[in-house]
Symmetry: C2
Subunit: 314 residues, 2 copies
C-alpha cells in the first residue's frame, strides 16, 4: 500500500504578505505551492490536501457587509462564508494542481470535497470567543449588532474599531472522512477540510446547524489525518524549520523532536500562540493518535532530504 500523507497548506500558499488578493496573485501562489507536491506524488504518495482560509474568509465577510450596504443583499453567517471559501479555494487548488500535474506529465485525478466538521456546543471555547473576524465597526454599530443577534465584539488593540470575535472550538468529527480515505486510497488527490471545515453542531442532539466559529485548520487537518490513518502529516508554513529562541541570537533550527520534547518546549513558551504553537499541538495530536511523523516545513523544501522539523513519538 502507498504511503498516505495529509498536507496542510498554510496561508501563504494562497496569499503572500503585501498582496491584495487579486485572482491572478492567488492563482500564481497556488500554482507555485502545488508545484512543490510533485516529488511526493512521483514517490507514489496518496495525498489529501487541507488548507487555511484566513484572508479569504475575511474578504468574504467584508463582501457580505458591502453587498448589504450597497445593494441590500442579506448578509450570510460565518458557516456559509467558510463554505464559500471551501468552494473558491478548493477550486483554485484543484485547478492549479491539475495544471502542475499536466506540466509534470503525471496522471492523477483530483477531487474537492465541501467538508462539514462537527464541534461541541459545550466546548469551553464558546464561553470565551477570542478569534477576531470580519469588518471593523464603531462601538455604536457593534452594540447594535450584539443586541440583534448576540454577537460578541472586542476592541481592536491597534485602534481600528470593534470587531466580532468568535470561538475556536476543537473539531470533534470530520464528515465524509471515510469517503476521503477511500478516494485517496483509490489514487485521487483529495482537497478537503478547507479553512478547518464548516463548523456545525447538533441543536437539541438532532438538528444539524451551522455555528459562528472558526476551527483551527491545522487541528482539523491533524484530526482528519488520524481518522484516515495517514502515515505522515505535513504542515506547510513560511519557514523551513521550527526554531527555538526564535528571532534571538540564540535561535536554533530543530531537525527532529519527540512528542515529549515538543510538549516541554510548548510549556516553556517557546512557540507563539496563534502561530507556531497550534501547529505544534496539531503535530503532537497526530503522532499521539498513531501517526508515524509530522513534518513542519515550507512548501519549497517538500521532498528535500532532511526537510523541516520532524515530530515523532520517540
Amino acid at each position: 500500500m502507498n504511503k498516505l500523507a495529509v498536507v496542510a497548506f498554510g496561508g501563504n500558499a494562497l496569499l503572500r504578505s503585501g498582496q491584495k488578493g487579486t485572482i491572478s496573485e492567488q492563482e500564481a501562489n497556488v500554482f507555485e505551492t502545488c508545484s512543490h507536491l510533485v516529488d511526493l506524488i512521483r514517490s507514489g504518495y496518496d495525498i489529501v490536501i487541507g488548507h487555511g482560509n484566513g484572508p479569504q474568509v475575511g474578504n468574504v465577510l467584508l463582501q457580505h457587509e458591502g453587498g448589504e450596504k450597497v445593494f441590500g443583499v442579506p448578509k450570510m453567517p460565518i458557516d456559509i462564508a467558510v463554505a464559500e471559501t471551501q468552494g473558491s479555494i478548493g477550486y483554485m487548488i484543484e485547478q492549479q494542481l491539475r495544471n502542475v500535474l499536466y506540466k509534470a506529465d503525471l496522471e492523477r485525478d483530483i477531487i474537492t470535497i465541501v467538508t462539514q466538521v462537527l464541534v461541541d456546543k459545550d466546548d469551553p471555547a464558546f464561553k470565551n470567543p477570542t478569534k477576531p473576524i470580519g469588518p471593523y465597526y464603531t462601538l455604536e454599530e457593534a452594540n447594535k449588532i450584539a443586541l440583534e443577534n448576540g454577537s460578541v465584539f472586542k476592541e481592536d488593540p491597534r485602534g481600528r474599531g470593534w470587531r466580532k470575535v468568535v470561538a475556536s472550538p476543537r473539531p470533534v468529527r470530520i464528515n465524509n472522512r471515510k469517503s476521503i480515505e477511500k478516494l485517496a486510497r483509490d489514487g485521487q488527490i483529495v482537497v478537503a477540510v478547507g479553512g478547518g471545515g464548516i463548523p456545525v453542531y447538533y441543536r437539541d442532539s438532532q438538528k444539524l446547524e451551522g455555528i459562528d466559529a472558526v476551527i483551527d485548520k491545522d487541528l482539523a487537518s491533524s484530526m482528519l489525518a488520524s481518522q484516515i490513518r495517514a502515515d505522515e502529516f505535513y504542515i506547510l508554513t513560511d519557514i523551513s524549520k521550527v526554531f527555538i529562541n526564535f528571532n534571538t541570537p540564540e535561535q536554533i533550527a530543530l531537525d527532529r523532536i519527540t512528542v515529549k520534547e515538543a510538549k516541554q518546549l510548548l510549556s516553556d513558551g517557546q512557540f507563539t500562540e496563534g502561530s507556531m504553537a497550534p501547529k505544534i499541538r496539531a503535530a503532537i495530536e497526530f503522532v499521539e493518535n498513531g501517526g508515524k511523523r509530522c513534518i513542519i516545513t515550507q512548501a519549497e523544501d517538500l521532498g528535500k532530504p532532511n526537510a523541516g522539523t520532524r515530530i515523532v513519538l520517540n
Copy 2:
C-alpha cells in the same frame, strides 16, 4: 444494482419568489425540497443531486461589487463566484438533507463535490453572449469596465441600466464524473455540478483556466446523468407537469411524450426560452444518450404515481 437517478433541483428549491434570500428562508426551502426525496431514497435509489445557483451567484457578484466599493476587496471573476455558490449551496443541501434523513430514520451518507465543467472556447455562444449577470451599471461605468477587461454589456429592457452579459456554452466534460458515479454506486448521495458547474477551458490546449460564462444547469446535469449512466433524470421545477398551450384556455398537461414529440413541440415554439425550453432540451439529450426516462415535475410530486411529465424514447 439499484436504480441511479440524477435529480436537478430548480431555483425554487432554495429561493421562492418574493423572498429576499436570508439564510433562514433558504435553509427552510432546502429542507422542504429535500424532504420530498425520502420516497426515492426509501425505494433504494442511488442519487446524485445537481442544483441551480441563479439568485445566489447574482448575490455573490453584488457582494463582490459592494466589497470592492466599501472596503477595497479585489473583485473575483465569475468562475470563482460559481465556485463560492457550489460551496454554500452544496453545504446547505447536504446539511438539510442530513436533517431530513435523520428525521426519516434513514442512514445514508452525503458528499458534496466542487465540480469544474469543461467548455469549448470556440463554442459559438462566446461570439454572442446573452446571459445577463451581476450588478446594473450606468452606461459610463459599463464602458469603463468593457475597456478594462473586454466584458460585454447590454442595456436592461426594463431600464434598470447596463448589465454584463456572458456566454452560456455547452458543457463538454464534467470533471470527477467517474468518482461521482462510484460514490453514488457506493450508496452515497452526491451533490455535484452546482450552478451547471464551474466553467473552465484549456488555454493553448494545456492550461486549465476559468472563463466568464454560465453553463445551463439542466444541460450540465443531463450530461452528468448520461456520463454516469443514470437510469432516470429528474428535473425539478415549480409546476407539476409540462403544459402545451401554457397559460391559455387550451392548456393541456402532458403525462408522457416521446423525444420525437418533444422536438416537434419545441420547434412549434410551445416552450419558453430561458424557462421550459432548456429543460426539454436537457431531457431530450438524456434520453437520446441512453437514459431510460426524464421526468419533469415539482418536488412535492416526487414518488407519487404518474408524477410529472415523462420524456421517453418511444
